[in-house]
Assembly symmetry: D2
Homo-oligomer: 139 residues x 4
């Protein structure tokens, strides 16, 4: 396994493929079997109660697993999410970014599996945990 992207190349690729999320995410770290991506929390990601919305947390976990998968399979491949199971455990803070610590648990021929822990930046207890499976089409 070796990475097909550097961190700046990977975030540029994401913004190219998904222009509608441009500026929403930053990639703090990229390694062979893990990465850290952050949601740059803005007004549109919040919901009443001064917290980050569930769909925004889902979106962060989903993009994190996508980046982890694409980092290995490269830009030609059209990986799609097939399953996400997410546990919401604590209310995220509204005034700070949300950080996704992502591990690649499996990179198979047909499927990748990632584990994602979401934290409000600077706090120790995770706000959510997600497991995601991506389907990798035959090349």
């Amino acid at each position: 396994m070796s990475l097909k992207f550097t961190a700046p190349e990977l975030i540029a690729f994401i913004e190219d493929v998904f222009p509608q999320v441009r500026g929403d995410f930053a990639l703090d770290r990229l390694e062979e079997d893990s990465l850290v991506v952050r949601l740059i929390t803005a007004e549109k990601h919040l919901r009443p109660g001064n917290t980050v919305s569930g769909p925004s947390m889902f979106a962060l976990a989903d993009v994190a697993a996508y980046m982890m998968t694409v980092a290995h399979i490269g830009r030609e491949a059209l990986a799609v999410t097939t399953n996400c199971s997410i546990d919401f455990m604590r209310k995220p803070a509204a005034g700070c970014d949300l950080v996704a610590h992502t591990k690649l648990l499996k990179l198979g021929r047909a499927l990748s599996v990632c584990d994602v822990l979401l934290f409000s930046e600077g706090t120790e207890k995770p706000v959510a945990r997600a497991g995601l499976t991506y389907s990798i089409p035959p090349r």
Copy 2:
């Protein structure tokens, strides 16, 4: 079990509590143990490939289970999602609404469990399936 809202009251309540999604959802049907809610698909819900984004599908499933739960426990209660497991099965069409057929499987003292099937309007095969658990705080 009897409902605490009519359909128009329930959608009004959702728009009141979550002003940022005002106009995004319509409630097609409300019964004791099921409901049908639709995402009025707009540009912001799409992603490249001419399809509805994963976070938009998640948001629809989540609001559907929330409405089903709140319909029974009433407006005072602050139900929060604790788990969602979602299977993405087919690519939704971009040019039509997304419809969530929602069943209440359990309404307990502390938890509600709903099952949601998402369809591109007018098609027979579901694009996604989700199971959601809401935690109901003690009153």
Copy 3:
């Protein structure tokens, strides 16, 4: 889509492939996109509190989705479970069988997705709900 097995052929195939569960399961109904399979509840499936154990419920949901998948892809294929998300909602009764109502939501080239509702026989409210994904190897 057409079935590769009759109901008696399918249960015989399961008992041939998994001899250790011989006599545990009965197939009540087999249709193109649904089936009903029952766990013939015995002492070994119970746990204290006079109920059916979690692993026995999981095993029933898993075999139900396997039978639904194999019914379509035939006996040569080696389908394996890749994900199961199961919600336990009520305590099953110990003195009766557990019945799994199973729907085939997707049969793709590489994955099948099934939805399973488990009932204590003769009761109306489900004891558990499971979504299962099977990976279908290339032929």
Copy 4:
């Protein structure tokens, strides 16, 4: 948070409450927010293809999360599994134990959430990953 059991007390409690699994599990390590429990793999846990069965993997993940929860809430409480999402990623080896590395992600008033990684003993890549939620009844 402090533990209500030592490791030997906890395994003794499990064997007392679930006599049918006596001898199946060993507790290798118990800490405040993690534990390692092993399935002492026997003939009954295997399935054809020389591997550990899915229900046995589920049972190990379930007992691991139960032990982690009970270690904190004590012996009076009747915690029950409400959700398990499990990803099966690799075929476990048949000739060795299965080891569950378990983390307590949340211990709330009403729910606990654990993350479990299962390994064939002595191997580096996990065979499965599970997230489990236990409901803790009011005391």
